[in-house]
Structure formats: structure tokens, C-alpha cells
């Protein structure tokens, strides 16, 4: 028992654990809208895009959150705008905009050298650099996401289900999609410290995909995905300490194992679509 509680004696671990758990919940919550919109790849894209902002902020010595945040939001809004015009598909828009940004980040860091957090920490996540200010910021972003979903629940549901009809029914689809993209960018940004650029997409996709296998109700899907994301963050962070491997990898591996188990179970025992209430 003492072995399990040992890491809690270290403040860096406690801060990392809180950030990982809240980040898991946040990504699980926002991920529902991303997966249902068929934009699972966007988390991967935004995180890589933010890397361009991370590199630029690092070189000019600018605040990481502000620099990478503005960069990420601009990329997400550009993706939403290009996708809406339908001249190219969402996957293509994500690929072009975000990979271009990632390539720019790598080029800037290679040419000018890195003055901020290490390259590896940005790519794979590290809890060593987590400060109390990071904890407050991620809790603030979770609060913002919850407020957005509470006040715009119906508009978000309608625009996710059927954006074209939502527009004809008087829903401001551009505003709702922009809001979602901004919260997605902020969620990705505050999660990068612990999960890392390369794995953050999995925390957006795995919890909602598992939850989708377990429920046919939209609000239960939101709740289940949030709880699963938080649980993966908590368990993955503890495993990371005991196995001495990067936190991002254990968090994602736990999610992938649970997905496999649920998928196999549902394949063997397919259930009828459950009856749900409004």
C-alpha cells in the first residue's frame, strides 16, 4: 500500500496527477463533439499546429500559453472556415494547415535553437515542469468548457448532428463552431505539458469512442467520456511513476487497453440499442 502512496509525497507528482486527471476529463468531454463530427484527426492536427506556436514563442521568449494559444486558435478557426466552404474536405484542411504549422515549428527550432521547454518534453509530455499556475489554468479551461456546454448544449448538439439544418433553423452555426474550436485549442494547449504533442489526440478520441460503445444517449455519452478520460489520466499518471515511462504513453495505453476490452466484449455480446429518456 505504501508503494502506491509513495509518489504522493512529491509535490511535482501531485501537481502532475491533478493536471493529468483534469486534462483527461477535459479532453474526454470535448472529444465527444470532435468524434461525432467525424473530425477525430483534428486533435492530432491542432497539437502539431500548436507546436509551431511553441517554437515561435520559445525563440522570441514570449509567454508559451499566449503564443501557442493564439497560434492554435488561429489554426483551428482556419480549419473550421476551410471545412465550411467545402472546397476541400475536413481531413485535407486539417492536414495542410496543421502539418504546415508543425513543419514551420521544427524549422524555426532547428534554425534558431530552443530557449524554452525541451523538444522531448513538448513531444511526449513531462510532469517535471508542471507548476501550480498550470493546475489553475487547466481547471479554468475545464470550467470554460463546462460553461460552454451548459449554455449552448442544444446548439452544440444540433450543429454536431446536422449543421446545415441548424443554420436554417436560426442557430448561429459559425459562432458555435468557432467557440468549439477555441475551447478545443485551449484544451489541447493546456494538456500538452503532461501528454505531449504526439499523443494528445488519443486523449480526445479514445474516451468518447469507448463511451459510444456503452451508451446511445448523448448526455450519458458526455458524462461517461468525461469520467473515462479522468480515470485514464489518474491511473496512467500513477503507472507512469511506477514504471518510469513518460506520462503520455501510460495514459494513452490504459485507454487503448480499455477500448480493446470493451470492443471485444461488445462484439461477443452485442446488445440492443438501449432505451433512453430526454
Amino acid at each position: 500500500m505504501n508503494i502506491l502512496l509513495d509518489p504522493f509525497a512529491y509535490q511535482f507528482f501531485v501537481k502532475g496527477l491533478i493536471v493529468a486527471t483534469v486534462a483527461g476529463a477535459l479532453c474526454g468531454l470535448i472529444g465527444v463533439f470532435i468524434v461525432l463530427r467525424g473530425m477525430s484527426y483534428i486533435g492530432h492536427g491542432i497539437s502539431h499546429s500548436i507546436f509551431g506556436g511553441f517554437a515561435a514563442s520559445s525563440i522570441i521568449g514570449f509567454n508559451f500559453y499566449l503564443g501557442a494559444g493564439v497560434w492554435g486558435i488561429a489554426s483551428a478557426l482556419a480549419i473550421a472556415s476551410v471545412t465550411r466552404k467545402k472546397l476541400v474536405g475536413a481531413d485535407a484542411a486539417i492536414g495542410v494547415i496543421t502539418m504546415g504549422s508543425f513543419a514551420l515549428g521544427v524549422a524555426l527550432l532547428t534554425y534558431f535553437g530552443n530557449k524554452g521547454p525541451t523538444f522531448d518534453a513538448a513531444l511526449f509530455g513531462s510532469i517535471l515542469g508542471v507548476r501550480w499556475s498550470d493546475v489553475y489554468i487547466i481547471i479554468g479551461v475545464l470550467g470554460l468548457a463546462l460553461a460552454m456546454i451548459f449554455f449552448f448544449y442544444r446548439s452544440l448538439l444540433f450543429t454536431t448532428f446536422d449543421p446545415e439544418v441548424a443554420a436554417t433553423a436560426g442557430v448561429n452555426v459559425v459562432r458555435i463552431e468557432s467557440m468549439l474550436m477555441i475551447v478545443l485549442s485551449l484544451s489541447t494547449l493546456v494538456t500538452l505539458n503532461v501528454i505531449g504533442v504526439t499523443l494528445v489526440a488519443a486523449t480526445l478520441v479514445i474516451p468518447p469512442v469507448i463511451a459510444r460503445l456503452l451508451t446511445a444517449s448523448f448526455h450519458k455519452l458526455l458524462a461517461t467520456s468525461t469520467v473515462l478520460g479522468a480515470a485514464f489520466g489518474f491511473i496512467g499518471m500513477n503507472l507512469s511513476y511506477h514504471l518510469d515511462v513518460p506520462s503520455g504513453t501510460t495514459i494513452v495505453l490504459i485507454g487503448a487497453i480499455v477500448f480493446t476490452l470493451v470492443y471485444v466484449f461488445k462484439s461477443v455480446r452485442p446488445s440492443r440499442m438501449p432505451k433512453v429518456t430526454m
Partner: protein
């Protein structure tokens, strides 16, 4: 009025009045501009030439093509209908009044007992009715439907057209697009045949004529009369395409 997606005009020289209480079918093959015309009517697309004049505060209900729906999306029938009440800031849950309205709309369409069912578990006709209920809950003066009979079997299609007739008798104007010439001729008093522009408009007798159909569909079709209603034979004449053996 004309409209374009940036290239050549998809629809052109459109001049058309939609009157209160009308029941009109827009007929044309794929690519003739039916959906573009609906988009302009709905206001989701702006005309590149000309103008659309709408009655002040006109309430429009829209039923999309069923092919565009994600049937695995985790929503129930009542949640889909409630989507029509999504504008602005609202509580996530339905109020008592909204639950009553949803129940009333579903009852009116004969699917009240399906309120808590998942969309995927319904038949094609029931699914179509759910989306009509969602459009009606906004109490529209005009209902615009994109291919409402597509993918339905013959009995369900006639059932659907009878339902639309009864809604139109209650004072609702209905405009729908379709490929189904014979179904429309039997149920709709007014047709608009388009092929980029309006080729013919008026009663089924005025529109369903071989020369009009040839211009619209690019093929000769034989038209017979059955109980006073024009009937198009499925077999095409002189299509003009040659395929290798």
C-alpha cells in the same frame, strides 16, 4: 434569379412565386439544380443574380434528405424534435412546455409512442416523420423538403404523400424536390420542372408531357393517362447513349 458555386451558373433565369398554402414539387434529374434552388429558398446560399423577396418574419421548416443523416448518432426521437428549439441561450433539458410541444408534434404525425426510441431503430417512414415533426414544431408557414420520398417503398411513399396532403389542407405551404414523377403527378397539384432553368411549371397535365420531360431528363419518355392522371412509363425511348457490347 441565378446561383453559382463559383463556376458556371447552376440555376439561371429563375422567376417563381411561392404562394401561401401551395403544394409544389420541384422535378428534375440529379444535377439539375433542385438542391441549389432549395438552398437559395432557405437562405443558406445567396443568389449571384437577382433577388429573393420573402414575406416579413416568414417561418420556414426544412426537412433534409434522409441520406444525409448519421443514423448512429446517439439521439432519441424527442431529442431530435427538440433540436428545433436551439436558438440562443437555453437550459440543456426540456421545459414542461417544450415536452408538451414535442409530444403534440409527434402525436400529430402518429409517432407519439416512439418519443424515447433511438432514431436507428425506426422504419424509413417513421424516421421521415421525426424530421417533419422537428420542422413543424417551429410552426412554419412553409415546409421545404429535399427528396422526402427517396428510399421509401411504394406503400410508405403514398402514406407520406397523404400525410403531406393533410398538412397542406391545414394551411401549410409545402415545396419539395423529387425524382418520382408518377408519385408527384398523382398527389401534387403543381409541379416545377427544372434543368438549370424552369422548363415548365403548372399542373401535372401541363408539365408531364414528352417534350418537357425530354428537355428536363434528356430522354424521350412515353406518357399515358390513367384515371385522368399522367403516368410516365419507366422505359426510355431514344436515349441516345451507345454502350460497347
Amino acid at each position: 434569379m441565378a446561383a453559382t458555386y463559383g463556376g458556371p451558373e447552376v440555376i439561371r433565369e429563375i422567376s417563381w412565386d411561392i404562394n401561401p398554402g401551395c403544394f409544389t414539387g420541384i422535378v428534375g434529374p440529379s444535377g439539375s439544380g433542385k438542391t441549389t434552388l432549395l438552398s437559395v429558398l432557405l437562405g443558406t446560399m445567396k443568389p449571384s443574380k437577382g433577388t429573393i423577396t420573402r414575406q416579413k418574419d416568414l417561418a420556414i421548416g426544412f426537412v433534409p434528405q434522409m441520406e444525409s443523416i448519421d443514423w448512429n448518432f446517439p439521439v432519441t426521437v424527442s431529442q431530435v424534435v427538440l433540436m428545433a428549439r436551439s436558438q440562443g441561450l437555453r437550459a440543456p433539458w426540456a421545459s414542461k412546455q417544450e415536452k408538451l410541444e414535442v409530444g403534440k408534434a409527434l402525436d400529430r404525425l402518429g409517432i407519439g409512442e416512439l418519443a424515447d426510441r433511438h432514431l436507428r431503430t425506426l422504419s424509413g417512414g417513421q424516421q421521415q416523420r421525426v424530421f417533419i415533426a422537428r420542422a413543424l414544431i417551429r410552426q412554419p408557414e412553409i415546409l421545404i423538403m429535399d427528396e422526402p420520398t427517396s428510399g421509401l417503398d411504394v406503400a410508405t411513399r403514398h402514406d407520406m404523400l397523404h400525410l403531406l396532403e393533410s398538412l397542406q389542407r391545414d394551411g401549410l405551404a409545402i415545396v419539395l424536390t423529387t425524382h418520382d414523377l408518377n408519385g408527384m403527378a398523382a398527389h401534387l397539384p403543381e409541379l416545377v420542372c427544372i434543368q438549370g432553368r424552369i422548363v415548365a411549371s403548372g399542373s401535372p397535365e401541363e408539365c408531364i408531357r414528352p417534350e418537357v420531360l425530354e428537355e428536363v431528363f434528356g430522354a424521350r419518355m412515353e406518357v399515358l393517362k390513367h384515371l385522368g392522371v399522367p403516368v410516365v412509363l419507366d422505359e426510355l425511348k431514344d436515349v441516345g447513349h451507345e454502350y460497347p457490347a
